[in-house]
């Protein structure tokens, strides 16, 4: 992102996690809570099916914001999110952001992650060094 201005839209990130993504994320992260990997267990506790890990969705929000600095892992200085609606596998996730403030080469980007009409991450605020 060159010469960002308040109100600029960040490039969107769209990802459709496949059926087995929650299993791979469980392995990668170490979080094997059965609500994420076992549809029958998830239904038994009142969920529509196995749900995405919130921290996976937050990882996509981090990825989208690091992309503003060509994916440099040093660029993301702070990320704050609220988890809301439940994310589901096999549905497209769209991460979108708007520049909230600019201070020299640091920008704060208001970001949301949505699946259709469901907001799965809201009020995300990313501080990125460009």
């Amino acid at each position: 992102m060159s010469e960002p201005n308040v109100g600029d839209r960040a490039p969107e990130l769209s990802v459709t996690p496949d059926k087995y993504l929650p299993h791979r994320y469980a392995g990668a992260s170490g979080d094997f809570n059965p609500i994420h990997i076992d549809p029958e267990f998830a239904k038994a506790v009142g969920l529509p099916g196995n749900i995405l890990h919130g921290l996976y969705s937050m990882g996509l929000v981090a990825r989208a914001n690091a992309a503003l600095a060509d994916g440099d892992p040093r660029a993301l200085k702070r990320l704050s999110v609220q988890f809301r609606g439940m994310g589901a596998p096999e549905q497209e996730i769209v991460v979108s952001g708007t520049v909230k403030s600019v201070d020299g080469d640091r920008v704060v980007v208001d970001t949301v992650a949505q699946q259709g009409d469901t907001t799965i991450i809201k009020n995300a605020e990313a501080e990125v060094q460009l």
């Binding site: 979080d31 921290l55 990320l79 704050s80 999110v81 988890f83």
Partner: protein, 146 residues
């Protein structure tokens, strides 16, 4: 019955995590992150890292385990069946690379009740082998019907 707040201010000792290249690769692949600095040591060194670099949210891999004993601490007394992860903040410092040894300590910042829900806020502070802070996490867990 008012919510139990005995654990506010309590601190838990550090747990240590050894960062490795294959684990970074596995995490980056799960997130669909393709920057070569996460996969290739030469690319990472050319970009100024000591070794293969971890994506920022790899923080959950090395700092998350420190929270296990915290969440299960009877003094905290959380009802797991009714718990959801409500919010998360990470503030990053020094980059994390393969070969690093990260130690994460935890603290209970606050326990509050609002609208029949319990808000449990914990902080983790992770430092590398040189004592430099790599990430500070604030974890908010919400328990319904406390």
């Amino acid at each position: 019955m008012p919510i139990k707040t005995d654990a506010v201010g309590k601190e838990w000792p550090g747990t240590t995590y050894q960062v490795g290249r294959e684990k970074i690769k596995e995490y980056a692949n799960a997130l669909g992150i393709d920057n070569p600095v996460h996969f290739d040591v030469d690319a990472a060194r050319a970009a100024g890292f000591r070794d293969v670099a971890a994506p920022p949210m790899f923080a959950v891999v090395y700092s998350g385990p420190a929270l296990g004993p915290v969440l299960f601490d009877p003094e905290v007394g959380m009802n797991f069946a009714a718990m959801v992860h409500g919010g998360q903040v990470f503030e990053w410092g020094e980059p994390v690379c393969s070969g690093d040894e990260i130690t994460t300590s935890s603290k209970c910042l606050s326990i509050d009740e609002k609208d029949g829900k319990g808000f449990y806020v914990f902080e983790t502070v992770s430092v590398n082998q040189d004592g430099a802070e790599v990430v500070r996490g604030t974890w908010t867990n919400i328990v319904r019907g406390v």
